[in-house]
Symmetry: C2
Subunit: 753 residues, 2 copies
């Protein structure tokens, strides 16, 4: 680490580093049974996230640093209230959301807060609370059977119905213990370590070895809990198993998880909702490793992968801070969660990445730790600004070759707001993945315009199946029809089979997100349906000459030697305003289809048209949006609404609009997605409520090239040429269609007028 | 007006008053043709809202007063842009939302802004713009026929499809003219006055005499426009017609409107959405009267009615500032509209009501006027706080005897937030009224929990029938079933006939909103259904001993000698979580009924139960809500969703839950409406997701007394006794039921445990 005396932060980090190194050295001495160095300074306990000197500095700053004060007081209040309520360690019996489940969760949170309160105040009322509670756990834990509400085929816990919660309990409780351990008698320490932490670590790493060695977020919580326990109990065997797997062969364990679970950009294949959750054990354990084994240079590992992972998960949020809700994801989750307070604080402290400060400011809270202290000091002089969301291409897969995600982002004309189109061509994302390849979704500022449904689940709400994933998560939310992509023959991609889907990924064909006037991405999927190739190209276009906001050209080309039914569904959000075609609405409602998600849609109506494009316009908050799609007289425009076959009212009743093509071999869907106009109820003014599209032409389409032309009512023309094979940014292309010659270099070209 | 030298505001108002008095004196001299007083100071023009001295003070303060600066710059920018775009005065041809409609609306707004810009900058580019545009109107106006898109049975305009817009045009344009008139040549003035203002005033007050003399907001805009024109053109005849009606007999006109259109508390019978709109001409014209004829003491008129009206309309808003959406009302309208900037500024200036400052602060804008100047100066040292919303009983009808509204409000446990239950037992509210007597709706903080649908209309959106009220406004929104009240035999109140409904009003029986633990209101309606009497009593209860938020006891008693079907419908907002009864959902959806709004509801399912109460629990944002209703084995719990028979997707697809009683003569619905628990996705914690009700008993019910007992799971008991006839706060009551004696004094009593 470079020291620069002129830079106090580097200096502080340097001292921190020195302290840690000394403490680690001593610790190593002890471990290896060599003579202790009597002249070395007293070991700076605790060893996980907050040293005594950091605690002292925090204490000094409390009165002048608001965010520290608020953050600390939340812990202290929680601890005070917990102490007042008394200790209860109930025999585990309830499922997620039930009393004992919630109580054991509260217990570890309260112990952790009491640990913090002890470190800052030195008041033994707090250390006593932690000690007494852990002694209660000591009485109970070793006698516990597997949890009575465990589920078949799902790793069980003892305190909780699932093992995952047991690991989370350990991650928190071991920190609490470490924070107060100076105040515990040797006898009590022995009781607690022998009857609680060794037992829990054994349960997690030995009895539940399969999960412990999983390359999966449940595995990360497990190794983090066990590894951190190893540092506290000075058990190098425990630590090594956590780092390198049960067999210490590096085939599993923490480092292997970092290798396998992230793409080179730090994308975690389950998606941002799970990445948020996973980042906490990744970062907490990494911090503990950095403190105790700095030689491992864990934050540098894999080209600073952990730092990239924090940035990537933050970029994968909408303008409300909510994670893009693809795969199993709850839409109400945003980056204000405690996991990301820890993760962003640690990332800031170790990478000195000041671009994270807007996020840490929004948290209005820091972790009470060395890292949190760094953030709190930096925020003192930080001038608030918006966290910058960028256009990004994020690859998937450990080598970055399993497809990925594209975030197309351009200013929407309002201050600090963007239009964001998300294009998903990523791998399956394990068991929480959805069959949603080549799907898109679309935001305007904070508004969802074309939505991804997210997961069907009410987290921890007992009356909704104990807060677990609902049956409709499988029968609806995971199915292809629930996403803004093409469903073929009313069947989901890969017949809805995770195993088959996990073997292959879509492939990126070309992309350019650097141009301020045109962001474009093209990807293909050739395995989701047997004998059918699909390519989708998404272009976000802003002609700076025009006053209109950016618009999207969306080209979805399908090739097949057999005839099929192609359903391109759009889950639009808002109130339908207008169509340019006639439709008939149903007088009684039936389900749209028998299975694969169709059984959950009420068919509301259907339209036909003799025009060559169909336009649907809707209103969402203060803006209008139109989808204009090339159609033919056989195309059907189908309106539906979610809610059929929903015996327990588990689904939201969202709208969708589908372009349906029947009996087609090859087919190209071309859609223009266009925000326009303005609805201002305050001023009672309405501008441009109608689509500006005059015509859309599919000029050419074969396996080599696709050419689409969009003509606006003001006679602006946009012609987009794309290359469908042998992609090469330098290759020259030429084709003549109807006597007009199209000529360009590279994988695409946009010609304006 | 009292002068207090120690109080600078009084001093300023005093000077203002003196100025105005002088100007009025002089003006009177001119009018009456007497000798002009040559030594009098030059008349302070303009005469409507902004004097030259006020303009000078504003100019001086621009650099130090942000809100003044922002407010002025918005006008200047608008004017600059308008000047850049050039003048266009198109021949009227389009309906609401169409090009010429919007253009003429923009024109008056731009003229007004240019007038303001001229007053502050003295730059004649602005006065020239107003003059030139008015000269364009002068060329066109007198030749105009009635508007081609006028509607039968609706007063037509010439510039606009309806006369109302013509009056609004005049209110704005005459102000613009007045602001710049010093800069206009005598010839141009004559042209503009003769060919524009006299003609428009004549069209409004003579050709459209019926509207002009209407006791209705269209009449208010008309008299305000004509009266203000009278002050500018110095035409006392015009003024007197505006003040006292066409015949100057005080049977119609502005003063009569103040007498007739408001209740003693300043409630305007069409409801707050229209009151907001009406307050602008009321306050602008009142201001002009105060400036030009201060002897009329217009702001003192009817015990300061205009001041009360401003306060009342602001109190009739939810915590988003949106007007309670009863009667025809657009939910997106809130108190940030320009009408209420003018009205609240004027009210602040003339009543010195500092309780209005939080509203004016939220506006982030003041009117550029003498009143706005007062507000801007007051805001300079104003410490932000929340506008205090109070529990209120607001009577309806000019004498306060036509029923009314009750706003039950108690803190909800979160900072600055309240639970608000609105109970409506008001008169019909003219043509925009809904058949919603004895309906309730309910908010928790900013969230709608039990909604009133509002109006079916997309204001100014051309594709939605030109932005006018939609057919579904009549067939759904106005119908009784669209409201949280009882529909009998699937027929709306008064058979949906406005004329019959306008003759009679519900009656308040008793109320007390002053108690912090119990707010209670009881009202009856005996005319809505022939031979049927209905009484609803709503009590909001907070036992300070309990941690739970306040809850509602809702008792709806119906007496009839014949058998009927009684449907009590609740338009709940949120996601259904749980019921304590079994239900069956439909596998195909049909409409719930044939007419009176039922045809718009898809029947989703129905439940039955052998228990004595039915509970529905739903989730809205971060809290759970339950309705627990006394039922019997014949009661049906019916689930439905809006959207049937909606050929153009005009309706929102909202949910409702109905308790249906068939073949009943007398019946008492008893419901407990209960916010409970907490859903925190950030902390992943869920508390109290289930209703806390253990039992509800209807202990007694006859025409004299109703006694209801609510038992919570923690064994708290609440017994509410209410008196059903001969109400008297001092009367003693006693009744013995099942050997238990109930004894109390007054119209109600609540006994806890």
């Amino acid at each position: 680490m470079i020291q620069s005396p002129s830079h106090t932060k580097w200096l502080r980090l340097g001292i921190l580093c020195l302290t840690l190194t000394l403490s680690t050295l001593c610790f190593s001495c002890n471990q290896e049974g060599k003579t202790e160095n009597k002249t070395a300074p007293k070991i700076q306990k605790p060893v996980l996230s907050l040293s005594t000197s950091e605690a002292n500095e925090i204490k000094k700053l409390l009165n002048t640093n608001d965010v520290l004060k608020v953050s600390f007081e939340q812990h202290k209040e929680k601890a005070d209230k917990a102490i007042q309520n008394g200790i209860e360690v109930p025999i585990p019996k309830d499922p997620g959301g039930g009393y004992t489940h919630e109580k054991h969760k509260r217990n570890y949170g309260e112990m952790y807060s009491a640990g913090i309160a002890y470190m800052i105040t030195a008041d033994t009322i707090y250390s006593k609370f932690v000690t007494d509670m852990l002694l209660e756990y000591a009485k109970m834990y070793s006698k516990l059977p597997l949890h009575p509400k465990r589920k078949e085929n799902h790793p069980a816990g003892k305190l909780f119905w699932q093992g995952l919660n047991e690991s989370v309990w350990l991650v928190n409780s071991i920190q609490a213990y470490n924070l107060v351990s100076d105040a515990i008698s040797i006898e009590d320490k022995k009781t607690i370590e022998d009857h609680v932490f060794k037992k829990v670590a054994e349960f997690i790493s030995v009895d539940s070895k399969k999960t412990f060695n999983k390359i999966h977020n449940h595995g990360t919580w497990a190794v983090a809990g066990v590894g951190m326990t190893g540092y506290v109990l000075k058990d190098q065997d425990m630590i090594d198993r956590a780092l390198y797997g049960s067999n210490k062969d590096k085939e599993t364990g923490f480092l292997k998880q970092i290798d396998m679970l992230f793409s080179p950009e730090g994308y975690y294949s389950e998606g941002p909702y799970y990445q948020r959750y996973a980042m906490m054990p990744f970062m907490l354990f990494a911090q503990a490793i950095q403190i105790n084994q700095p030689d491992l240079k864990i934050f540098e590992y894999r080209d600073q992968l952990l730092g990239k992972a924090v940035t990537t998960v933050l970029q994968l949020t909408d303008e409300n801070g909510a994670f893009f809700p693809f795969n199993d994801a709850l839409k109400e989750k945003n980056y204000l969660t405690s996991e990301l307070i820890f993760a962003s604080n640690i990332a800031y402290a170790y990478y000195e990445d000041s671009s994270l400060l807007p996020i840490t400011l929004a948290h209005n809270k820091v972790s009470i730790s060395g890292a949190g202290l760094e953030v709190a000091k930096a925020l003192k002089n930080f001038k608030p600004k918006v966290y910058e969301k960028k256009p990004l291409l994020i690859t998937d897969g450990k080598d970055g070759t399993d497809g990925g995600l594209a975030l197309l982002r351009m200013p929407n004309g309002k201050k600090d707001e963007k239009l964001t189109a998300v294009f998903k061509f990523a791998s399956q994302g394990m068991g929480h993945g959805h069959f949603d390849r080549l799907s898109i979704f679309f935001y305007d500022g904070k508004q969802e315009i074309l939505q991804d449904y997210g997961a069907a689940r009410f987290l921890n709400v007992e009356s909704k199946q104990g807060g677990r994933y609902l049956p409709e998560n499988t029968t609806w939310a995971k199915q292809t029809i629930a996403h803004n992509t093409v469903t073929i023959d009313q069947n989901s991609q890969f017949d809805g089979k995770v195993k088959a889907a996990s073997k292959v990924s879509p492939q990126l064909l070309f992309s350019n997100l650097k141009d301020t006037k045109l962001q474009i991405v093209s990807a293909k999927e050739e395995n989701a349906y047997k004998g059918i190739n699909m390519q989708r190209t998404l272009a976000l276009i802003k002609d700076s000459a025009a006053e209109r906001p950016p618009f999207i050209i969306d080209i979805y080309a399908i090739t097949s030697k057999e005839k099929h039914q192609y359903d391109l569904n759009f889950m639009y959000q808002g109130q339908l305003m207008d169509t340019n075609f006639e439709y008939t609405k149903e007088s009684t409602l039936s389900e749209l289809g028998a299975q694969n998600g169709y059984q959950h849609l009420w068919k509301l109506g259907e339209g036909k048209s003799d025009q060559n494009f169909a336009t649907l316009t809707w209103l969402n908050q203060n803006r209008f949006y139109s989808i204009s799609s090339i159609i033919n007289p056989n195309s059907a425009m189908v309106f539906s609404r979610l809610g059929a076959n929903d015996p327990n009212f588990n689904l939201r009743n969202d709208a969708s609009y589908m372009i349906r093509e029947n009996n087609k071999e090859d087919h190209v869907f071309v859609n223009i997605i266009e925000p326009h106009g303005n609805f201002d109820p305050k001023l009672e003014s309405v501008q441009n409520p109608h689509s500006d599209i005059k015509n859309i032409q599919l000029i050419h389409s074969d396996d080599t090239y696709t050419i689409v032309k969009v003509i606006f009512k003001n006679e602006e023309h946009y012609t987009l040429m794309i290359v469908n094979k042998e992609h090469d940014p330098h290759k020259q292309h030429k084709i003549t269609v109807d006597t007009i010659e199209y000529q360009w270099t590279g994988n695409y070209n946009l010609k304006t007028n």
